[in-house]
Each structure stands twice: as structure tokens, then as C-alpha cells.
Symmetry: C3
Subunit: 356 residues, 3 copies
């Protein structure tokens, strides 16, 4: 199948962007915007953004053609779109200009597709990629070079599977799922029974991984398949690099799991939860909706919805910081304790003296 | 070489399973068992299992055709095999039904084998896999698609090397070794000398990794090659995803190293050791047999056999939990200390008054 | 293009090595040295090394033909080169004998090179490797089997890209850069804005990763591309396995980042910094030159140059160890506090009695 290159960044006028965002415009609506850049890196034609007033100091060297700014900032001498949340606006505008890494539609000559593979419209399969038998890939999904997909895998529409991503047999991905390079979806869970001699007898891992719409999985992250049933990452959740999700874990919708965090087997994570970097959650727990766990924290007990936790083992944030402040006072407390003992001994002696 | 598909789950009667396990049977020995499932996921034909009495509440909706149960549970109204350790029994029975992911014997047309590669009987080498020169792969081992094996590598019989696994030059794997996707066996150890200007001069890493029989290595784990000699993972040890094993480490038999844990260079780990998730062990230490290190703990000193350690730096479990309980009492202790100071000051004043 | 094998370890006389190192020789300058080994593993023909006096006890079984020793050790009965820093000397001598894993120059028949790829002199591209369009690879660089390089990538001279390494579109590597297997350079940074409903809106990551000369990146490490601009690893820095470097991070020259450590987005790390294993650094911080962060420590605030930090959150080493010592005294302190309360109550009663 022949492949033809696609890629060509679009151009919008500032007026078009204002209309599309439904927001106020200051300046010439005819200014042509060809991209997005930070205040430091923007080139002429780029639209940039200011989130906080103190960032305006960087404006003097800024080469951007226009800005996204919050109402509070007033007139900065730049053509501008006034938006309530510049960070969100820049994400949306940058998405307008964004194109996934170029990969021509069609199947590269060196890709290997086994029997009964179903490809939707405009699917692209890159060089040296592999798709096992009876798997199905939805319309416009891009399987980059060297990605490896097992058999009986279902992949939705508009997904991006980056070079070297691995999706093992039987796993299911929704639409608009992004899997970065080196991520492994569906390796065996870590399940063993011990025999009488303390040897580890493997419990075959026969379940799958299900990943719902709009989930993103970071580079070299691993999501293990369930022992039975499924490991399940629900809609809109974003998982960073080198994260480990154990077998039979469920992660609710719109949660964030930051780099190098880990969740042990069978734990249930709620919706809109944030696990900060290098956090660890023990197995078989329930973590309520909107819980936030601080970086490097270790959670060994279930957590009610809405709580912020921190530490090792994790405590409510407020308790953690109170204890932490006192920890730094420990040398002082130790000294005071010593002085008190001397004072009390003195008092005892004096009183004894008195009563003698 | 032509490839023919293999896969076809077996069927056993309940009576056959009872005989094979050497255990008591309650119910019809002719019931046909076609698979294994959890209480929630079991389908008709599956055998399921109950580990704890409180799990029996899930039985009412269970579709399993039979159960593996401990003697204490009595009659649950299901056909059942009575076993001392249901968790171990389910592992063994599930293994009866288990088949590795389908991969036809023979070498896929797109696999690359360099000169002098030796393949045992019934070896399977998948699409786009690579085996370097003078390497040898034992009978029935399956090298899945995209796995990369260097030169002068020795791989035993009945191994599974999953898609994207990497085994570097000169490494040696025993029999029944499982290496999951993205695991890297034999990358360079992290060894540098500093020159006079504080620059890091690489110490070439010329040793190998040796992995003994029945070891399993998790997805995206890394086991570095030795500087000289070997990094050595001994028989029966199971290593989870994203674990890091440094150069010249020795891990004894039947140990467990859970996800995201790390062991620094030249440390010796004993037999039947458990390193829980995200634990870290410094270099050049000796960790005795049957030591258990808690999740997220950091070990900076050698540990005698049989101890349970916890914390950062790790302490004996008992000390850790005593200190942890007192940490939570720190605000109280601080308050008491303040009150005592006031009381003592009062006493001093009173006594001074008295003696005046 | 035909490929021809290269590999043949060199031979030096002890006299040649002495001259090359510019150092004193004890023994026969004509001894032929064919390799390097540790005291335990050295074979006849190897030169070995002694770093500390207590290691001389291992000499009796040593089969090495010569030693690298510090001046303090005197005559050990072995032919020897006297060097101020044996560890540095062994690195340099071992480099003399070292050869990267064999890979014939030229492009393997099964490698895929897209349009407009520029290859320098004596470049080697292994089996099943991929290089995207408009990328350039400098002289003598070795791209091992299964390595995946995107489009518009610039790679310098004498680099080693090991099997399964991934370099994404637009990234730039200097000379003598080593990227180990499974490392992912240039995956998207973890950047999202939240919309009104708490959904995560992806901020497209349009920057690159720049890696300067003499950097080494460990197996399965991930270095994310910048949101805008670049993520930048400067000259001579060595990064170990499973390390995570977030978007827009800058790591200064000659730093060491040990296994499983992580640095969050936009943090600036100075020169000659050491982040020990499993350390974590929050985003948007400045870590000064020569800072050392202990294993498993968590850094949430910027650190001035030259400081040693430890703990979670990290404190200056001295404070950390003082607090740590007192933590272990907490049970004792608690007991003393209880006794003091009893004593003070007694004194109060006695005084009241007295004054009654």
C-alpha cells in the first residue's frame, strides 16, 4: 500500500481565534497566527500567553505576535485575547496547531500484520510494526514504527501508539488513547502462591487490560493484565512515565498519576484523584474521589473522598506538616527535656533539704 | 520455515483434578472443568476458589461449576475440592489450563538470525525478532515478536521472551525463565571514576548477567551486567516490573523483588528475601536469608538473616512502628513539655518565695 | 551494503601502559597485558587493581599478571604500576581494551531508512533498526538492532544507540553519547490544563530534547521533550537506568543522576550535582552546582550550591542525621516526659502540703 506524507501547519487570524474561543480581542483581528510559543521561545507569528502578573517582566524580549492573557492584566501593549484561564486557552489553541508526528496512512512495507487484522479508514502502520491475528485498529489510529500489538487486541479510533509501545494479547483501548514509547500494556500481573518449601508458584494471569477513551499512558509505564477479569483505566485519566499499575487495579475517570508512582494489585482509585510523583499505593485499598496523595508518599490504608494525604505512611496533609515542623524542633525539645530534668532534680533536692 | 498454530485449552473432570491434587472431592466427579475464574468472573465450566470465610458472601452470584476450598469451610452447596491451601491449589490448577500466548514453532520470515545461532527443538521465533551470532536458544523456548537477543547469549529450555525484551551480548538464562516486555538484561552497569576535573570516566562493563532456572523478570525491569564477573539472579526468584538490579548484585534463590524496587551495585541478597515495592538497597551490602524489607524502605546497612525491616533509613519493624506511633504523639508531647516548663517555673518561684 | 565484522582486543606491554599513564613501573616492562579484571575474576594476562589496603588480602588467589596500586601500598610481590588513583587508572586502562558490542559498519539489509537520511563515515545501522526522514547520524556512530530514530533527528559522531533505544522526532544528540536499551528520548512531557469540569486538556509538547557530548543515558530511562524550547542534558552528565527527566528540565555538566531518580518539569540542575538513587526533585526549582541529594530524598525547595541534602522533605545532611538520631530516642524521650510529669505532680503536692 502506498504511503503519502501528511503535515502542514494551519494558519488562523487572531479574529478567528477570538471567535473560536468566544473571547474578547484587543488589537488587529487580521494578525496571522501560525503557532504557539512560550514568552521566551515564541517566534514572530506565534501566539504566547501570560498566566501570572509577574511573568509580564519577560515581555520586553518577547517576539510573539499576540498574547493570551487574563482580564486582570489590562493592556500589555500586545495584541491580545482576554481569557479567564490562559493556561487552558493555550492548551486549546496549541491543539489547533498540533499535528501528531508524521506518519503516512497505510501499512508500511516492512510492517507485519497477521491473519484477520481489521484496519479502519486512514489507519497508519509504521515501519517494523507488528499486529497479531484477529486484532482490530480503529479509523485514523497511528501505529508508529516498531510498535508491537498482540492478538485479539481492540484499538479504537484516533489513537497514537508510539514507537516501541507494546500492547499484549486481548487488551482493549478506547478512542483517542495515547500510548508512549516503551509502555507495556498487559504484561503478566505479579501473582504467586507459595508452596510448602517457600517456592513461588506462578498464578497464570488470564485477564486483560481495558483502557477507556482519552487516556494517555507515559513512556516506559507498565499496566499489568488482571489475574482474572480486567485491569481498568477509565476515561480521561493521564498516566505519566515509568508508572506501575498492578493487576486488577481500577483507576477512575480524569485522574492523574505522575511519574514513577505505583499502584499495587486490586486497589480501586476514584475519579479526579491525583497521585504525585513517586507515590506508592498498597494493594486491595479504596482511594476515594478527588483524593490527592503527595509526592513520594506511601499509602497503606484506604482513603475517604476529598482528602489530601502526605508522608510515609501517609497522613492527612495538616497532620503531616504539623509533625514535620515538630520534627525539626526535636533537638530543641530534647534540650528542654534535659534542662527540665535538671530543674526537677534541683527542686526535689531543695524540697528534701527543706523538709529534712 | 513454516509455522503452525498451537493452542487449545484442555478439559478435565473434577475427579481427575481431585486425583491430580491428591485431595478430597465433594460432589459429582464427572463435572467437566474447562477453566479457572475468580468468584466474580467465573463462567460455567470454571473452577473457582475461596480463601477466607468472609469471601463466601460472594458465592450467591457465582457461576463457577466447582470450588477449591479449605477444610474449615465445610459444605458451601457447591461441588468442591478440599485443599489445605486454596491459593496454592488454584495456582497449580490454573497452570494446567494455561498456555503461553500463541506463537507458532519455527522462525518467522521477518525474524533475523545471525551466523551460528543454535535453536533447540520446537523453538519459536516471532516476527521482527533478532538473535545475534553464536547465540543458542533451548528447546521449546518462545522468542516473541520484536524481542532482541545479542551475540554469545545462552538461553535454556521452555523460556518465554516477550515482545520487546532485550538480552544483551554474553548473558545466560537457565530453563523456564520468563522475561517480560521491555525488560533489559545486560545493559552497562553505572560505573565511573572521577578525574582531577570532576569529570566521569567510564569504567567499561565487561561482565555478564546470569539468570538461573525458573526466574521471572517483569516488564521494563533492568538487570545490569557486571563490571567484571557476573550479576547473578538465582533459581526461582521473581522480579516485578520496573525493578532495577545494579551491576555485580547477587540475588539468592526464591526471593521476591516487587515493583519499582532497586538494588545498588555489588549487594548480595540472600534466599527467600522479600523486597516490597519501591524499596531501595544501597550498594556493597549483605542482606541475609528470609529478610523482609517493607515498601518504600531504604536500606543503608547490611541486615542479618530473618529480620523484618521498615522505614527510611530502615529499622527493625518493631522499632519503626513504635517510633511511628510516637511521631503522631509529637504535638501532644510538645504541649506537655510546654506545660511542664510552666509548672516547674511556678514551683521554682514558689520555693524561692518560701525560702526567701 | 555489505557488512564486515570488527573486533579484536589489543595487547599492550606493561611498559607501554606505564608510559601511556605516565607512571612508575615495578617489575618486568615486557609483561604482555591482554585485558583487565577484578582481583577475583582476573585471568593470566589481565591487569588488576587494588584501591584499599584491606583488599590486599585477596591477592593470594589472584591470577592477574600485574596490578594498578596506590603509592601507599609498597611492594605486593606483583608487577605493578604505581598510580595516585587506581580506580581512575583502571577506568582508563579498561577503556584501552574495550570495544563496543560488535556491529559491522554499513546498513543491515533489514534496517529501514526513510528519505534524506545522512550517514557519516563508518556508521553502522543494525538489523531491524529504523531512521526517520531527514535525520542525520555522525561518523562511526553505531545504531544497534531494533533502535528507533524519528525524523529530523541529529546524532553526532561516535555515539552508541543500543537495541531498542528510542529517539523521537527533532531531538539532538552530541558526540560520544551513549543511549542504552529501552531509553526513550523525546516522549511528550506531562502537561495538561484543567477545564471547568476537571478534565485534563493536553498541552501539545512541541519542544525537543538536546543531549550534549559525552552524556550516557541508562536503560529504560525517559527524557521528555520540552513543551516549548528544549529539555537539555549538558556535557558529561551520566544518567542511570529508569531515571525520569521531565519536560524543560536542564541538567548541568558532569552531573550524576542515579537509578530510578526523577526530576520534575522545568527544574534546573547545576554542574557536578549528584542525585542518588530514587531521589525526587519537584518542578520549577534551582539546584545549585555540586549539590548532593541522598538516596530516596525528596526535594521540594531550591538548594544553594555545594550543599548535601537528605530526607523527605530533604534537609541539610547534618540536620537530617541529628533528627534521625533523636527519632530513635523518641521512646526514651516519651518515657522521660512521663516520669517528669509524675515528679512534678509529686513536687506540687508536697509543696501544697507544706504551705497548707
Amino acid at each position: 500500500m502506498e504511503q503519502t506524507a501528511i503535515s502542514q501547519s494551519p494558519i488562523f487570524t487572531l479574529g478567528e481565534l477570538a471567535e473560536w474561543l468566544g473571547t474578547e480581542l484587543k488589537g488587529d483581528p487580521g494578525i496571522r497566527i501560525t503557532g504557539v510559543g512560550s514568552l521566551e521561545d515564541a517566534r514572530p507569528g506565534d501566539i504566547s500567553f501570560v498566566v501570572k502578573p509577574r511573568h509580564t517582566s519577560r515581555l520586553c524580549d518577547c517576539k510573539a505576535s499576540a498574547l493570551l492573557i487574563p482580564p486582570a492584566l489590562g493592556d500589555l501593549g500586545f495584541p491580545a485575547l482576554i481569557v479567564p484561564n490562559p493556561y487552558l486557552a493555550v492548551a486549546r489553541v496549541a491543539q489547533l496547531f498540533d499535528r501528531p508526528p508524521t506518519l503516512a496512512s497505510g501499512v508500511h512495507l516492512t510492517a507485519v500484520l497477521e491473519e484477520d487484522v481489521q484496519l479502519g479508514e486512514d489507519v497508519a502502520v509504521g515501519a517494523l510494526a507488528y499486529i497479531g491475528s484477529s486484532s482490530s485498529v480503529g479509523a485514523r489510529t497511528r501505529v508508529y514504527g516498531g510498535a508491537l500489538i498482540g492478538r485479539d487486541v481492540l484499538i479504537g479510533e484516533d489513537c497514537l501508539l508510539y514507537p516501541g509501545a507494546v500492547i499484549m494479547d486481548g487488551c482493549r483501548l478506547g478512542n483517542r488513547v495515547i500510548v508512549h514509547s516503551g509502555a507495556v500494556i498487559g504484561a503478566d500481573g505479579f501473582g504467586f502462591a507459595q508452596d510448602e518449601a517457600g517456592r513461588h508458584v506462578k498464578i497464570p494471569q488470564r485477564g486483560i487490560v481495558q483502557i477507556d477513551d482519552d487516556v494517555e499512558i507515559g513512556a516506559n509505564a507498565t499496566i499489568d493484565r488482571a489475574t482474572f477479569g480486567r485491569t481498568w483505566i477509565q476515561r480521561g485519566t493521564k498516566i505519566d512515565n515509568l508508572v506501575m499499575i498492578g493487576h486488577n487495579v481500577v483507576v477512575g475517570e480524569h485522574s492523574l498519576i505522575v511519574a514513577q508512582a505505583g499502584v499495587a494489585g486490586s486497589t480501586q482509585i476514584g475519579r479526579h484523584v491525583i497521585l504525585a510523583a513517586q507515590a506508592g499505593i498498597s494493594g486491595q485499598l479504596e482511594i476515594g474521589d478527588r483524593v490527592r496523595v503527595g509526592a513520594k508518599s506511601g499509602v497503606a490504608q484506604s482513603i475517604e473522598a476529598g482528602r489530601d494525604m502526605m508522608g510515609l505512611p501517609a497522613l492527612p496533609n495538616r497532620d503531616f506538616f504539623k509533625i514535620w515542623a515538630l520534627l525539626k524542633r526535636l533537638p530543641e525539645m530534647n534540650k528542654e527535656l534535659k534542662e527540665l530534668r535538671a530543674n526537677v532534680a534541683e527542686l526535689q533536692a531543695a524540697l528534701k533539704d527543706k523538709t529534712a
